[in-house]
Subunit: 137 residues, 4 copies
Amino acid sequence: MSTLTLHDAQNVMAAAAKRADEVGQPVNIAVVDAGGNLRAHIRQDGAWIGSVDIAIKKAWTSRAFDIQTRDLGENAQPTQQFYGIHGTNDGKVIIFAGGVPLRRGDAVIGGLGVSGGSGEQNQTIAEAGLAVLQEFA
Amino acid sequence: MSTLTLHDAQNVMAAAAKRADEVGQPVNIAVVDAGGNLRAHIRQDGAWIGSVDIAIKKAWTSRAFDIQTRDLGENAQPTQQFYGIHGTNDGKVIIFAGGVPLRRGDAVIGGLGVSGGSGEQNQTIAEAGLAVLQEFA
Amino acid sequence: MSTLTLHDAQNVMAAAAKRADEVGQPVNIAVVDAGGNLRAHIRQDGAWIGSVDIAIKKAWTSRAFDIQTRDLGENAQPTQQFYGIHGTNDGKVIIFAGGVPLRRGDAVIGGLGVSGGSGEQNQTIAEAGLAVLQEFA
Amino acid sequence: MSTLTLHDAQNVMAAAAKRADEVGQPVNIAVVDAGGNLRAHIRQDGAWIGSVDIAIKKAWTSRAFDIQTRDLGENAQPTQQFYGIHGTNDGKVIIFAGGVPLRRGDAVIGGLGVSGGSGEQNQTIAEAGLAVLQEFA
């Protein structure tokens, strides 16, 4: 499997940060590798301190289950098939929008997490980030 | 950004405590600074020991996300955009009424948390506290 | 057993704070009641944020074992009879100077913790605090 | 107090990363702000995954106590005045070399943590980072 380098992580984060600037919403941005371990993180000026943890955990979640956290969330509501999953893995599972798997070709090589805006803002910022690796795969 | 001093914290807490006395409901009152770190805390005579932790975490939450915990709670219900946020940040996120950001001018310089009464009681006590800094801003 | 009131706690903390000012060392000061639960806390301007936790835990430790943390520490060094005790109680046990039991008459009614200075500074500040209850017992 | 910006954090980290490359030792590098909250982190290619946590906690520790972790470590050995401090603050206190406070003028505005090499390597890499803010203060 192709490995996610620090250079990859920083390119992904730069694209996400650029989109956050366009949206006008400061955020936390985090990238983990295929092992779910943190590669890089930034907190933009003015972004919430409570979102540091959430951005890192969104990145972890999206790699841990190879799924966008928004999609996992739909299955994690009361009465749905994965309800309660947010209490597993020592609280590392996030079930709202902003986390996306990072792919090169068909392989998931990491995860990207964005936190600090609304669900929609976080999602669009994360999508700007993941596009970087997919374009140059 | 203007710093929240211990003197500020004690003024805020005195106003909240006075309101708690008027309401007739003993509570825990806590103030954190802009970094989310505890500045001061009191547990009034007769207030719950289980509310020490909650008051401190309400203060933290309201600064960590620059939002009243009551309002965060509305966005954290099942099917809402931040459902599951109460499980993040090692359990420090409180999603019911009683936490409010402390502002001087436009800047959030800390957070105030009140716990021990009903949601309405905690809210009115917290509002009495935050008014102190806003009046003299 | 005579109960430690918030008024008591605040008198103890005021005396400790006054001594800290004389020493010229800003500190965190915390008081717990007979149940080991936090009654009040202040972080003086300029005091370390890492000492919030330590001051509270010193107060708890000194009540939990009815002993000054300095004295407990002597028994908690490698090869001594309580070596390893700092890993018990979920890490709440502090084994260096600055925590003292609070007594009224013969009864231990709480604990006081001071953190932010050297061991000697914390000890003298804590002693100024505990003297308040003993004088008026 | 002058605030540490993301731009500051990234300049500090770039200087530390450059020194790590010269030393030939890949490391984790983390920066926190004055409140002890994470501003940015990188894990260089080949650096230990077990050092992510340590780098972040070294940065926190050096700000939480306004001291280099190497110096704190000397006071935290058995029989010394702060022995046991590494068990406080929920295990966030690191007592070996690699964490340094970040200053602008006289004010501590954050902390820098480096982990992945020997104590000496981490220290020299951290020193290259902190010099950035001091030069342009």
